[in-house]
Structures are given as C-alpha cells and as structure tokens.
C-alpha cells in the first residue's frame, strides 16, 4: 500500500520530476531542499521511505543518511540515494552510512517505482 516518501534534492525541477512520478503511483510526497530540511522533518514526522540526492548545500545526502540512521524511527526506513554520481568511492561511503540502495540519475520512472516497491 502506497505510503509517505520524503524526497530530498536541492534542484526544484528534480523534486518536481520525483513528485510527478511518485504521486502517479499513489504515494504521498514530502519535499526537502537539503539534508538539514529533511532531518528537521524526520525528527518530527515519520516517512515510509527516503529518496535523497548526494550533493546539496548545508548537508549532503551521505551525511543525511548517517543522521537518519541515528534516529530511532528511521533506523530501518529504506533510504535510496538518487544521484548523478556513479563513482565507487561515493557509493561505498553511502553504503557505509546506511543507504539501502543507489540509483544513478537520470532515473527511469517505471524503474524507480519498481525499485521503491521492492524495498518497501
């Protein structure tokens, strides 16, 4: 059953593309423009999945994953990283921080929905 997805990206157009895609499948989408904003939301509210970019001002995606894993209610929430970065080093850092998976932009809407359905 579709749930709430926290979409984190500093690009407004990317957030829109993610929102269009997820809402078409019935998910409720909450948006945040960087890690700080996302963390503020997460401290007060639950989400069923987090989808985050890596390179963002104030707090990057890898730090966000680390901070989320330190919160009791986000310890086991799937966190997918959606980024243009495909380098193994960054991917490894994401994995160590506690990310559930890694998707390289540009995403294919059907593939994104299939991946989300798989980890939820």
């Amino acid at each position: 059953m579709p749930g709430v997805i926290l979409a984190v990206d500093d690009s407004a157009s990317m957030r829109q593309m993610v929102r269009f895609t997820l809402e078409s499948a019935g998910y409720k989408v909450v948006q945040a423009a960087d890690g700080v904003e996302a963390l503020e939301f997460a401290k007060q509210n639950p989400a069923d999945l987090v989808l985050t970019d890596v390179n963002m001002p104030r707090m990057d995606g890898i730090s966000l994953v680390r901070e989320l894993r330190a919160l009791d209610n986000y310890k086991f929430v799937p966190v997918l990283v959606l980024t243009t970065e495909s380098g193994n080093d960054t991917k490894q850092r994401g994995k160590e921080a506690g990310a559930t998976g890694w998707i390289v932009k540009p995403f294919n809407p059907e593939q994104l929905l299939a991946t989300i359905a798989r980890v939820l």
Binding site: S24, N55, I103, P109
Partner: protein, 188 residues
C-alpha cells in the same frame, strides 16, 4: 566620448600601465563565467515555465484516468480498450518527458562545475609565481578532477589530460544511447 558610442570599442582601449597578461586572462575567464551564468539564469526561467506546464498536463492526465475509471459500465463498454490504450500512451510519453527533463538538471550541474573551474583558474592566473610552478599546476588539476562527479565529466577530464583533442574528448554517446551508468540501480 559620445553616450551612444559602442562600449565594446571603448573597452578595447587598454592603457599600457594597467596591462598585464595575468589580469587580461583573469578578466576573460571572468567574462566566460558571467556569460555562462547569464545564459543559465535565462534558461532556468524557461525550464521553470515548461515544468509548470508539464505539471498541469500531469494533473489533467490524472483527472482523465480517474474519470475513465469511474465511467458507468454501459458507457465504458464500447470505448474501454481504446481509452485504456490512449491513457497508457500518455503515461508512457510523460515518463519519457520526466527522463528528458532530468538532463537539464544534469546540464546545470555540469555547467556549475565548469563555472567553478573558470573562477578557480582566474584566481590562479592572477598569481604569476603560482603560474610558474609545476607543482601548483598539479594541485590545480587535482582540485578540478575532484570537482567532476559524473562519469561523463571524468571521461572528458581523463581524455584531455591524455592529450586527446577537446572535440574528440567531448564526443557524446550517439542518439538513443544512454550515458554511462545512467539509470543504474544497485541495492546494498
């Protein structure tokens, strides 16, 4: 000087006292950066409008799907197949548009890296001592290499460092061919 005089002609009159190759190079790099920023701001506004329009189309499609699903069976009977096919086509085309829009985001990111490279180089060029030290050039190149995050940027950087001509280094995948790693999914 007449007010209507061409500014570009006036700007070319450099005094010999103020002239230094380093300053001229830094100014020209600054010019490239400013032109890029100006063009990006203009296209950002256009893309923003486009995305809003696209958002409207998404809403309309969603409403049509809901309406189609709620049609009385007797009305739907004759058109169900065709209606479903049309809605599926619309949804497929929107998926294609969602992918295409993301390339603009990627373009903005890559141009941001180029802008940063230009401003770093402009600062570097102002210092004649640095310019004459190979180890400082190595540091600069390493800074720039770290800046490039996508596979395509790294490939172009490596090709240029290997002495490949810039037009060959910038060669993009042919039509229909995806960028390396794009869309790749890995679950940990």
């Amino acid at each position: 000087m007449a007010a209507s005089q061409d500014n570009s002609t006036a700007a070319l009159a450099l005094s010999e006292e103020a002239f230094s190759p380093e300053l001229q190079l830094a100014n020209l790099l600054g010019l490239c950066e400013a032109q890029m920023e100006s063009a990006l701001q203009e296209s950002d506004r256009a893309v923003d409008t486009l995305i809003k329009a696209f958002g409207g189309l998404v809403e309309v499609t969603r409403s049509l799907s809901t309406m189609a699903a709620n049609l009385p069976p007797e009305v739907k009977a004759g058109i169900a197949q065709d209606l479903d096919r049309q809605l599926a086509t619309m949804s497929q085309q929107m998926g294609t548009a969602v992918m295409a829009f993301q390339f603009y985001d990627k373009l903005t990111q890559r141009l941001g890296h180029v802008r940063y490279s230009l401003s770093t180089l402009a600062l570097f060029a102002c210092d004649r001592t640095q310019m004459n030290q190979p180890e400082q050039w190595t540091r600069l190149l390493n800074t720039m290499r770290r800046l490039y995050r996508t596979e395509e940027e790294r490939q172009v950087f490596s090709a240029i460092m290997d002495g490949v001509a810039s037009d060959s280094a910038a060669a993009t995948p042919s039509d229909g061919e995806s960028a390396p790693a794009a869309g790749e999914v890995e679950l940990f």
